[in-house]
Amino acid sequence: MAEAGKIDPMHQFTVEPIVPLHIGGYDISFTNSSLWLFIALALLMGFFMLGSKRELVPGRWQMAAEGVTGFVDNMVKVNIGPEGKKFMPYIFSLFTFILVANFLGLFPLAIIPGLHQFTTTSHFSITGVLAVLSFSMVLIVGFWRHKLHFFSLFVPHGTPIVMVPLIFLVELLSFMVRPFSLGLRLFVAMIAGHILMEVFGSFIVSGLSGGPIGWGVSALSFLFIIFVTLLELLVCAIQAYVFALLTTLYLNDAINLH
């Protein structure tokens, strides 16, 4: 990025080791990525510990925790049916974890000098693992419940015999692409939003030294970045919701076939 001057929009995504650790040729250092994963986990655990004291008259925290739980429970019930009850904890963990990790990345903590937060969900190594987890769960549940009948998922009802091989191939392809699209969507959405915010933030700073026209550019960029921040808050929530929703739909395919 030659135009952006000294500000490199990709720098915010670098993984830096905090506690270097090498075992047998593998680099398993404790990085800023792992640190922010732990922070997301700690926040989630704190929130739900405060919220699940099982008071008879629920307080604020309990109402909030029950709201989230009820939302995910409802989504699973509507999309899978009564048999989805046992998958609810997994969907719930996925949804809340992605939501908190997304929001943590947007938190304006960098105004404290020396503190740079890291968006854990902006790396394919993390969203990809989540997606592979969902996908392997679909495979295991599907083959466990339906044995080899699971393959009938790839041939919709009422397909003419002549079309079966072609439809089978197309459906198989769309099935195999699922983990990639699941992981890619979340990670690219996060990366795109953060790059956009960084680029327009750099416009504000470099516009200040550009005379009256530059100040105009700065003011416009400032207004725009407020709008983008609001949009990003929406995108964070939607991406977490979409990830959980698609996982329930894929699980529904595996449990109920067609």
């Binding site: 969507r185 690219v188 795109a192 919701y241 979409v242 739909l249």
Partner: protein, 75 residues
């Protein structure tokens, strides 16, 4: 044309796909609103499908963005 300029032009061309996805996402929500206002009672039951359509349309735009980034940072 040298490599650097071709790279920037290529990334710009790849970014057109993001605009196309914007049309798609607008279409999804627009059609949903149009039909939701005609039959508001049925609208809540279709929110899951709304977000599936949104996710499918958005994914293609995000892939266009990823391609633009790959072209822009290729060596």
């Amino acid at each position: 044309m040298d490599f650097a300029s071709a790279q920037v032009i290529g990334a710009g061309l790849a970014a057109i796909g993001v605009g196309a996805a914007a049309i798609g996402v607008g279409n999804v929500f627009g059609s949903f609103l149009e039909s939701a206002l005609r039959n508001p009672a049925a609208a809540d039951g279709q929110q899951g499908r709304l977000f599936i359509g949104f996710a499918a349309a958005e994914l293609l735009g995000l892939i266009a963005f990823a391609v633009a980034m790959i072209i822009l940072y290729a060596r």
